[in-house]
Amino acid sequence: MTVLPYLVAGWIFLIGVYGLVTSRDLIHAVGCLAVTQSSTYVLLLAVGYRNGGTAPVFADAPTDSRVVDPVVQALALTDIVVGATVTALLLALVVQLRKRHGTVDPDALSELKG
C-alpha cells in the first residue's frame, strides 16, 4: 500500500490535535503540540523518499548515485531545532503560569490578572 506513510502522518496529526483539545494540563498540551508538529516530519520524509535511494551526501558515494530528496530533509532538519526552542518557550510560559496562578489547567485560567 503506497499511501500508508502519508496516512500515518495524518493519523499522528489528528492524535496530537485530539490531545490538545482534550488536554487538562498545559504541559500535556505542549507535548501534544510537539506530537502534532512531528507529523509534518513524517509527511516530509515520506514525500521525499525514493526507492533504493541513499542519503544525499556525496562524500563517499559516487555523484550519480540515486539519493532521497534533500529539499524535504533540509526542511525537516531546521523544523526540529526551531520546534525544540519554541517548545522550550511554551514550557517557560507554563512555568510562569504555574507560579502566578497556581494551576496548569487551561480551563481554570479564565480571569485576567495584573
Binding site: L7, R50, V57, F58, A59, T85
Partner: protein
C-alpha cells in the same frame, strides 16, 4: 465552551480533515517514486558548488535566506524564554546544596564530556562534507557541557558556564550570519549569495560560504541551548519561592482553586 462541545467540534473537524487528507494522499505521487524534480535540481546545484552534503547546501546556499529566518525564530524563542524565566522581584536565590555523586557515574560522565564536546564540534565543522552541521552539532556540544551537572553538581557547571558569554555568543551567531550575507552584497552580488571560492570537493574548505554560515548557526545553537537549559535549571535548582507563601508550589487544586486565588489577591493588595 464546555469540554463535551469542544470534543464534538473536534470530532466533526477531524472527520472532515481525515476524509480530505486521505483523498489528497491518493492524489500524491506514490511513495518512493523516482521522479523528484526539486531533489534532482538541488543535487545538481549542490555538486556545482562543490558541497558534498546536499542538505547543508540547501540550507546554507540555496535557501540561506530562509535559514536566516529560522535562525531568527530560534534567537527570539531563546530571548523570550530568558525574559519569561528571569528572577522575579518576589523571588530570591539560594545556593544549591552540593550533591553526592556515585564515583562510577562521575568517572563515566567526566570521560564522556570531552568526547561528546569533540563530537559536537566535529559535527559542526564537517557540516558541508558529512551528515550534520550547525543545528545538530550545536545541540550535541551544548548538552555535552551539561554532563558536568551529572558528574559533579550545579555549582561546577556554573563555573564552566559564564552565562553572559553564551548570551553574547548567541547574538554573535545571528550577527555573523547577517554580516556574511552583507559581505556578499559588498562583493557585488545578492544578499547571502555564495561568493567565496568553492574549494576542493569533499574537503573541509569546500562549499564557499556554506561552512561560514554553518559555523555561525553552530555558535548560535550552542549558546542558545546552553542559555535555555541554564534558565530552566535556575528555576529548578536556585530560585526559591517568595516568602509570603503564595500559591506556587502549594499544590492547591480542584475545589480549593477559587479560594486560593482570592487569598492570593488579598495578599497582593496588602
Amino acid at each position: 465552551m464546555s469540554a463535551r462541545v469542544r470534543l464534538w467540534v473536534f470530532l466533526v473537524g477531524a472527520a472532515g480533515f481525515a476524509v480530505l487528507f486521505a483523498v489528497a494522499c491518493f492524489g500524491l505521487p506514490a511513495f518512493g517514486t523516482v521522479h523528484h524534480p526539486y531533489g534532482v535540481r538541488a543535487v545538481h546545484a549542490s555538486l556545482s558548488h562543490h558541497t558534498a552534503n546536499v542538505i547543508a547546501s540547501v540550507n546554507f546556499d540555496l535557501r540561506a535566506f530562509d535559514t536566516l529566518g529560522e535562525e531568527t525564530i530560534l534567537f527570539s524563542a531563546v530571548l523570550g524564554t530568558v525574559v519569561l524565566l528571569r528572577q522575579a522581584r518576589d523571588e530570591h536565590r539560594k545556593d544549591p546544596e552540593p550533591a553526592v555523586v556515585h564515583p562510577r557515574v562521575r568517572r563515566f560522565a567526566l570521560l564522556m564530556l570531552p568526547l561528546a564536546l569533540l563530537v559536537g564540534l566535529y559535527v559542526i565543522a564537517h557540516g558541508q562534507v558529512s551528515p550534520g552541521g550547525g543545528f545538530q552539532g550545536g545541540v550535541v556540544a551544548a548538552t555535552a557541557l551539561h554532563l558536568l551537572y551529572i558528574a559533579a553538581d550545579y555549582r561546577a557547571l556554573e563555573r564552566v558556564r559564564p552565562l553572559t558569554l553564551y548570551e553574547i555568543g548567541e547574538a554573535a551567531g545571528e550577527v555573523a550570519y547577517v554580516i556574511t550575507g552583507l559581505a556578499a552584497v559588498l562583493a557585488g552580488s545578492a544578499f547571502l549569495a555564495n561568493v567565496l571560492p568553492f574549494g576542493t570537493f569533499a574537503t573541509l574548505s569546500s562549499g564557499g560560504t556554506v561552512p561560514v554560515l554553518n559555523a555561525a548557526v553552530g555558535l548560535e545553537v550552542v549558546s542558545g541551548v546552553v542559555v535555555l537549559l541554564a534558565r530552566f535549571l535556575d528555576q529548578a535548582v536556585e530560585i526559591e519561592e517568595p516568602d509570603d507563601g503564595s500559591p506556587r508550589g502549594a499544590g492547591n487544586s480542584g475545589d480549593d482553586e477559587d479560594n486560593g486565588d482570592d487569598e492570593d489577591d488579598e495578599r497582593e493588595r496588602a
